[in-house]
């Protein structure tokens, strides 16, 4: 198997109807009503002017726009339904076409469980490099988010140092969630242009995409809006992610929370289409429930899993790709809770064919990066990948000859049919299926094996290097932002 292979879920056999068509329309219509009557905050002069020019009711003082439904609906129709995320290596390009579920690394954490010492510490630029390199060699990882914050890099160009670190250590597509002002976005686009040989090539080969968080309830961040508008101008795929959480930043009821998140996302997306019709955009969400005792964002639990499935129905309704938060867990170490939350959230987001899944590797509500967790999450993705293929039923798989040959009693271990198909059975890397006595002598488990695999990969994998001149040019661009 070539290290260039990327494992994505496609041609699914499983289906789930989490919302009926009538329910989706009801959510949509309520959303439009909220955007028209209550409004959404757009704290960006440029955004407010675009809204005004397109007939929205703009309150410049409060920075709130109220928009008639048809303006939003017409704008959303201009968004392309499918496009590709280009990679530095074109054979690793990804399709966002509704028939591929692509897994990314999660982001943007602030601490790392050190791969060697096992101690938790503040994240740094070297971690961004290491994670990118391991992700480059891991076939389940289709693209990168900036996994952790390079807290030893200067604040004003941190997002750029992180991007360069990923590009230098991987040939896969990079989506950054850590560039949220126009200066850094401008530089990031210049850096991406170096890879594809010019800004005008980015529309065709977007090796970079941008994810901007909304500011729920019903708001956006000014820097994010300006960065998103700039990206849209150059055909850089851009999405707005809502993390509206039941009972704190969104209504307690799930339907109401979907409405609030939807209003933020579709209003932001419509803005990009009004400014740059046809710009590639995506819907992004990581909605969840708040913990009733602490108010914390939980990133797990049954509400989270249902949101995972429901949001893609909304994105499908608007006919744009979805980037869905999955795998987030509140667990403090790779344990029962982490496995449970990772599995169910990812299964629910996958069964509806979310185009992008964010992502593997985190503990404690996307704050602490764990290399073991990354590997374990990838195995969960493999299991779901296998499940999504469903059960194939035809003469060959019904195995009539084999059943007849074995007859009552006997076994199938000696059958040619077995030999032919046995590798279709799932073989885990990290599940403990050993004899009890073997475990008893070693007392090791999935976490140990996962971190060993990550260590081995980090030690052995050499990614295709980025052209030295491009690296140097990137340094120059970063310096110019640092002043």
């Amino acid at each position: 198997m070539s290290s260039k292979t990327i494992k994505t879920i496609s041609n699914p056999k499983l289906k789930l109807e989490v919302l009926t068509q009538e329910e989706v329309i009801k959510i949509h219509e309520t959303t439009l009503q909220i955007i028209e009557k209550v409004g959404v905050r757009f704290p960006s002069k440029r955004a407010l002017e675009i809204w005004e020019a397109n007939g929205a009711d703009v309150n410049y003082e409060k920075k709130i726009v109220r928009v008639k439904p048809h303006i939003i609906e017409d704008a959303l129709k201009k968004a392309p339904p499918a496009y590709k995320l280009a990679a530095r290596d074109p054979q690793q390009d990804l399709l966002l076409d509704g028939n591929h579920v692509n897994l990314g690394t999660d982001g943007c954490g602030v601490e790392v469980i050190d791969i060697n010492t096992g101690e938790k510490r503040t994240s740094c630029l070297q971690d961004v490099r290491d994670i990118a390199r391991i992700a480059d060699a891991t076939e389940e990882v289709a693209f990168h988010w900036v996994a952790v914050s390079a807290q030893d890099a200067p604040v004003e160009a941190r997002g750029l140092h992180e991007l360069k670190a990923v590009w230098e250590n991987s040939t896969k597509h990079v989506q950054t969630e850590s560039v949220y002002n126009v200066e850094e976005a401008k530089a990031a686009i210049e850096m991406a242009a170096l890879i594809v040989g010019g800004k005008d090539k980015l529309r065709e080969r977007p090796v970079l995409s941008l994810m901007q968080c909304t500011a729920p309830p019903l708001g956006h961040d000014g820097g994010s809006l300006d960065a998103a508008l700039l990206a849209a101008e150059f055909g850089i795929p851009t999405g707005f992610m809502t993390m509206a959480a039941c009972a704190t930043t969104g209504p307690t009821t799930m339907a109401g929370n979907l409405v609030v998140g939807n209003a933020e996302v579709i209003a932001g997306t419509a803005l990009l289409q009004l400014a740059y019709p046809g710009a590639p955009v995506f819907y992004a969400a990581a909605q969840t429930a708040s913990d009733l005792r602490t108010g914390a964002y939980t990133g797990g639990g049954p509400e989270d899993f249902l949101f995972g499935a429901a949001t893609n129905i909304l994105a499908d309704f608007y006919n744009i790709p979805l980037s869905m938060g999955s795998f987030a867990t509140g667990a403090k170490e790779p344990n029962w809770q982490a496995g449970l939350e990772g599995s169910l959230s990812t299964f629910m987001a996958s069964i509806v064919m979310s185009d992008m899944l964010l992502g593997c590797g985190f503990l404690h509500g996307s704050r602490i990066w764990s290399f073991a967790e990354m590997m374990l999450d990838c195995e969960i993705f493999c299991i779901i990948h296998k499940m999504m293929q469903g059960i194939e039923v035809n003469d060959e798989t019904l195995a009539i000859d084999s059943i007849a040959a074995v007859g009552p009693g006997g076994h199938y271990l000696g059958q040619k049919h077995t030999r032919k198909h046995m590798r279709e059975l799932f073989m885990p890397q990290f599940m403990d299926r050993r004899p009890y006595s073997e475990w008893e002598t070693k007392k090791d488990d999935a976490r140990d094996w996962a971190v060993s695999k990550a260590r081995k990969t980090l030690k052995e994998h050499q990614p295709d290097p980025l052209d030295e001149n491009i690296s140097k040019e990137m340094d120059r661009i970063i310096k110019s932002v640092e002043k």
Binding site: P43, C108, V110, E111, R121, T122, S149, Q151, V155, R158, G159, Y180, A215, G219, D221, G222, A247, T248, T249, T252, S290, D291, L292, R293, T294, G295, A296, Y297, G365, R367
Partner: protein, 218 residues
Amino acid sequence: MSEELYKEMAQSIIDGDSDISTELAKKSIELKMHPLETITKGFVVGVNYIGDQFGLGEAFLPELVMAGEAMKAAIAVLEPELLKLGETRQMLGRVVLATVEGDIHEIGKTLVGTMLSASGFEVVDLGVDQPADNIIGKALEINADIIGMSALLTTTMVRQREVIEELDKEGLRPRIKVMVGGAPITRDWVTKIKADGYSEDAIGAVKIAKDLVGKGDQ
């Protein structure tokens, strides 16, 4: 008569009903009840009850917040009456809260504010995107005991350090204590910037604030 009314007051807080708590506060003035007794024998009983229930795992955060808001509404009616009598409510301390410059995230910080005022702190919440000068200026203006700063981004949390450095430069610490919070804030960061207190959630923040003003037992 007043016993009955005290009970209703406590219940209005437990129910988190600001309309009723306001109404009852007004009624107590009409009845010429002493505002300080109205607060301590009536409304505070409700706040304490909800606090205890929360501690037992029977009440949840929204109930705490609504109790805090109902309490605030009642106090707003009673405070002018107290001033007329030349009296003030015994407060645990004064707190200036803000989200640092360049950052617009405020849910957590607002929640901390509500919890602190419900627990007997005087809180001035400056809102979001606040430069160091504003925060320190306000702290000096109201003679604050504590500055509380929030940040959600790793790129803005460095502003917390700037405020602390500025306070040190002006020789305002340890007179003014600093507590910090926000999703990216870790114990390491708190140690690094030499903040006085840190909590991962609003409930914890109340305990920290009490400790910082030397009233951890209240």
